[in-house]
Point group: C2
Chain length 296, copies 2
């Protein structure tokens, strides 16, 4: 193992060596793998053997993906990552020696509450807790953690090795020293830390993306312009590789639909249009082979 | 002159050969130059000798710019463009033989009204009138034209040779055949036509850009995140070369300020923040050497 692969080795101030990732779904597995790839000792937790088997498959897939897509994952570095990754369905074992616990369980308050209450009993008192929640604010969860001063949000984006932002957002109770440690941890595992100075639903990325995508949808759903022309306009005007409807297709229709269907009356109209013209016709985006565009 | 430089030669259906551009300011001069570069006979009008002298300087600058930045402007093609460009302060002469009149005069209804009423008397009845207005809808102007069936908006973006969208937007009165002709004209002069099927303030581009830039400004003005972090997030997440604050700096602060200061109470707050922290300090963007970023 090269020295610069040690978790936090590049940042001497970081004392985070052992990371527990709670929930080994798509993004949880990526967070665990990326942390291990950068030298952390990582314990990935999920609820049962079936979930662990799925996580193991995800890790194997990530070895291949990193080999293909990550410049410094050659020479066996991707494969070697697995040696720093442990999978367990024993929560006590998962967090027994954790410096940092990253929670990536499904987005319901009840489940997160139960998880944090158990974590607080099982993890060492020094451990920092971080939620990867996209839809909840850390202040919605802090009271369940038993350690609000050592709790914040650390929000990753899907395909962490490529879309390597890590949005860091504390509550009013978060110890500034803990916040800094997590910022440095994010940097040490190859992320670009995006610091939020106060809580904001949607963090930075979705605060930009949602109104942008909504505006595009209004143009199409209102019959003003065709999706392809909207995308062309954006690409030419801003030099961006992707227009908003290409981004919809990558994200898939379901997430924007679920956000909009619970939104304002205008949002609900857009949701209905999206459902009728795309979702109900199986046009869900790249993953289904067709969305606003066709994919082969 | 190469055959493919003839205005409309590439599109046999286009009957637009002679173009009058009314108003030879920054964008008017670019529209005139681009049309002439692509083979049209162009008469550029402005109100007096001083304005014409400024336009002539703009054309000379564009010769240099096209040589440097436009791939097919080598071998004297940029210089040769000047031979197809006539400047005049005689409106009757400007439009006497025009197939298409593109209006690019300052954005006041009174001035545009006066201009269209004179144009309608002076231009041949076959001439199509197109407004380049950013802030007015063509239906705000159509009654002044005397020919609402032959009137629409054709909206260019600054630096037309590079940001080569041409948004085409008619009113309910616009003859569909005229609309098609203008779409094909736009294509013939090297633009990518963006077809709007009905009127929309802001066309496509500003309908996307304004909510996107506002959302970014809310993050900074609200103290949630720093402009550079917001930009980084957007660049990483979408692969775009520029984040929203880099775009602000290119546009300059004044236009967004003027839009927001007349907007909703939230917009007015953002405008006040922009004024206090940037405009009042002379930080207007790239053009002033500093905006959200410093430029050398």
């Amino acid at each position: 193992m090269r020295a610069d692969r040690r978790c936090g080795k590049e940042e001497p101030s970081v004392e985070i060596r052992t990371v527990a990732v709670i929930g080994s779904g798509v993004l949880g597995a990526q967070i665990a793998f990326q942390s291990a790839f950068k030298g952390c000792t990582v314990i990935a937790y999920d609820i049962n053997d079936q979930a662990l088997a799925a996580a193991r498959e995800r890790f194997d897939g990530l070895v291949q993906t990193y080999r293909n897509e990550v410049p410094d994952a050659k020479d066996g570095a991707a494969q070697a990552t697995l040696a720093r990754l442990t999978l367990t369905s024993d929560l006590a074992r998962a967090v027994a020696d954790a410096d940092l616990v990253i929670e990536a369980v499904p987005e319901t308050v009840a489940l997160k509450r139960e998880t944090y209450e158990r974590l607080n009993e099982l993890a060492p008192s020094r451990a920092i807790f971080a939620t990867n929640s996209s839809t909840l604010l850390p202040s919605d969860l802090k009271d369940f953690t038993g350690r609000p001063d050592r709790f914040l949000a650390l929000h990753f984006a899907n395909r962490v090795w490529r879309f390597n932002t890590a949005e860091v957002m504390g509550t009013e109770d978060t110890d500034p020293a803990v916040y800094r440690q997590v910022v440095e941890f994010a940097r040490a595992i190859g992320m670009v830390p995006i610091e939020l100075h106060k809580e904001k639903a949607g963090y930075v990325l979705n605060s930009l993306l949602v109104p942008f995508l909504n505006a595009a949808l209004e143009l199409a759903a209102g019959g003003y312009a065709d999706p392809a022309d909207v995308d062309t306009t954006w690409r030419i005007a801003t030099g961006a590789p992707l227009g908003p409807f290409q981004i919809y297709d990558i994200i898939g229709m379901n997430t924007p639909y679920n956000i909009m269907v619970n939104g304002s009356p205008e949002d609900q109209k857009l949701a209905a249009w999206l459902k009728e013209n795309y979702i109900d016709q199986g046009k869900l985006g790249v993953a289904s082979g067709e969305g606003f565009y066709k994919y082969s």
